[in-house]
């Protein structure tokens, strides 16, 4: 259904009172109409969406299924090594074709009437197409080539496979921008990634709240006490945020430096008036906090947030791809692909098992995000007509910073969202 014609009514539902996006209307987090418009304007629109890492489908016929918004997608590899993606819905009567998460198949057969599609998504055969004994069959005007699966454009970087529904979407590298390119290269191209585990977390919050969360280093050291106490990210640490030309993608990072250990006075001051920071916390087994970084460039965290639903994250010595799968306005599944590298020594591999405790639904540094988003969703539902406040780090111009406690990159996200949704003009 084309929601565009109703846009005028939808626009009237909310107000964006500031041009710097320091105020965001709460309705867009819980109103079903905005959710449906997002599915059309953002997920079917000019955006690149993460589907899989190429190491998950190394051979001909390997496939995985994943979601772009509400739409289930098959992504697979053909005989010549190319990667193709198409909508997991039969061109005949709409049936879901592949009902598995991953596997290998030389073709995809719809279970209902056995229409068969090749690995490029083309309709290869239709049972009883010519009828039986001169009777029945498809009409003479039926051409199989007019009934292929809905194909998506596919591009990859660092093995990350992205797809888009739109012909308008600019090339992937331009879409991601220079910081994403250099960081993806830093994290994924220097070695050979392999999946060492998946984690899933069903969060009772709108998918955009998670986008705010990963663009918000302000909360990182306040909500996540663990990483402050163990020096992974602290409000006094060096770091900053850098965005792409549309301010939709954010690279935020913190940098380890020699003087961090001497800054406990600053740290105590940063937490003044709260009862959260306790400098005396000790681990019974400190192994988890002593895993050396694989890369010697000093980055303690690197969070690449790619509009609308993908994150490549290095938190301490963990490497993971996070992907958001919206499940209606009030719920989102966070799907995490945890990475190791073929080159890892036994010790490095065990180190990554230790530090996996930092991330995911039980992660010392991440589990509280699920809770924060649930509470946020619960609270903001009561605030129709009102707006959230994004002023930390400054208002006005949306620009890169060399400090961490900021919400400017969240405003960057909203700026692009506002444009794609057609709120302008």
């Amino acid at each position: 259904m084309d929601k565009s014609k109703n846009m005028k009514n939808l626009k009237d539902k909310v107000e964006w009172p500031t041009s710097d996006f320091s105020r965001v209307p709460y309705e867009i987090f819980f109103d079903q109409d905005f959710y449906e418009l997002e599915m059309e304007k953002i997920f079917q629109g000019p955006t690149w969406n993460y589907l899989a890492h190429s190491c998950e489908i190394p051979n001909e016929g390997d496939f995985v299924t994943n979601w772009i918004g509400d739409v289930n997608i098959i992504v697979n590899r053909t005989a010549n090594g190319d990667i193709h993606a198409f909508k997991n819905s039969c061109s005949h009567r709409g049936t879901r074709i592949v009902d598995e998460i991953r596997g290998n198949s030389t073709r995809h057969v719809c279970p209902y009437h056995l229409w068969t599609f090749n690995l490029e998504g083309n309709l290869a055969s239709v049972p009883l197409e010519k009828g039986l004994k001169g009777k029945g069959g498809m009409p003479p005007c039926f051409e199989k080539e007019n009934h292929n699966l809905r194909k998506l454009r596919v591009e990859t970087i660092g093995g990350m496979i992205f797809a888009t529904f739109s012909e308008e979407t600019e090339p992937l590298l331009d879409y991601l921008g220079p910081h994403c390119q250099s960081q993806i290269s830093r994290l994924l191209d220097q070695r050979t990634p392999k999946v060492t585990g998946y984690m899933r977390q069903m969060i009772e919050g709108n998918w955009k709240l998670y986008n705010e969360n990963v663009r918000d280093p302000y909360h990182a050291s306040l909500l996540h006490l663990f990483q402050v106490s163990f020096g992974i990210q602290q409000p006094t640490m060096k770091g900053g945020i850098k965005m792409d030309k549309d301010t939709k993608n954010t690279w935020n990072h913190s940098i380890l430096s020699d003087d961090d250990n001497t800054s406990s006075v600053d740290l105590a001051a940063a937490y003044e008036g709260t009862d959260k920071y306790d400098p005396n916390i000790k681990l019974a087994d400190p192994a988890i906090a002593n895993v050396p970084l694989d890369l010697d460039d000093g980055y303690k965290t690197t969070l690449l947030s790619m509009f609308p639903t993908s994150v490549l994250a290095q938190v301490d010595n963990t490497y993971a791809i996070r992907h958001l799968r919206p499940k209606g306005p009030g719920k989102v599944e966070l799907n995490i692909t945890y990475l190791g590298f073929e080159e890892d020594t036994e010790e490095q591999a065990f180190g990554k098992k230790l530090t996996a405790n930092f991330i995911g639904p039980s992660g010392y540094i991440s589990m509280e995000d699920g809770e924060a988003l649930r509470l946020e969703q619960d609270g903001l539902k009561m605030r129709a007509g009102d707006h959230s406040v994004l002023e930390m780090g400054g208002i006005g111009e949306i620009a890169d910073t060399d400090y961490l406690s900021q919400e400017i990159s969240i405003r960057g996200f909203w700026s692009h969202y506002h444009k794609l949704m057609g709120f302008e003009g």
Partner: protein, 158 residues
């Protein structure tokens, strides 16, 4: 100890373990594990079936188990105060001497502070126990989740 006595002892051990978590006595949790040799993990059925070894929660020493519950004991973690109740069934025991292999199913219900209950987790335990001076201790406990799309977060052990 004959087979029936051993079965009853292990069943009681599992129910005591469950009550420790149900009653939020997180400080007592590490004592179910053998101090000098133990392993605890929560793994997804997805990873288990794929042979992927990184778990959702993994403790490879008694100290790591103590650290896992420390934030709960100290009350410094931001998490939802739910009442959890473990139901353990289908207990099967293979006495391999010295290790006793125990398999069981579990279901954990969650009830919020306004008394609304729903299913939180379902899965199976894969345990290795030993008798240490006639007292059972876990040397390994693996909770493998069928419900691996974890609702909201998993702050407490299963």
């Amino acid at each position: 100890m004959n087979k029936i006595e051993l079965h009853l002892k292990i069943e009681r051990f599992l129910f005591d373990y469950a009550d420790c978590l149900n009653e939020k006595r997180y400080g007592d949790f590490p004592a179910f594990f053998k101090e000098d040799d133990c392993h605890y993990e929560v793994q997804s059925k997805e990873n288990e079936d794929l042979g992927l070894t990184v778990p959702i929660m993994g403790c490879y020493s008694h100290g790591m188990i103590r650290d896992r519950v420390a934030q709960l004991v100290d009350n410094t973690l931001t998490y939802r105060r739910l009442n959890l109740r473990h139901f353990i069934s289908n207990i099967r025991i293979d006495d391999g001497k010295p290790e006793i292999n125990v398999n069981a199913n579990f279901q954990v219900m969650q009830s919020d502070l306004e008394g609304v209950s729903k299913l939180y987790l379902v899965g199976r335990y894969e345990d290795k126990l030993i008798l240490d001076q006639n007292e059972l201790k876990l040397i390994s406990k693996r909770a493998i989740l069928d419900s691996f799309s974890v609702p909201n977060m998993l702050a407490v052990p299963v």
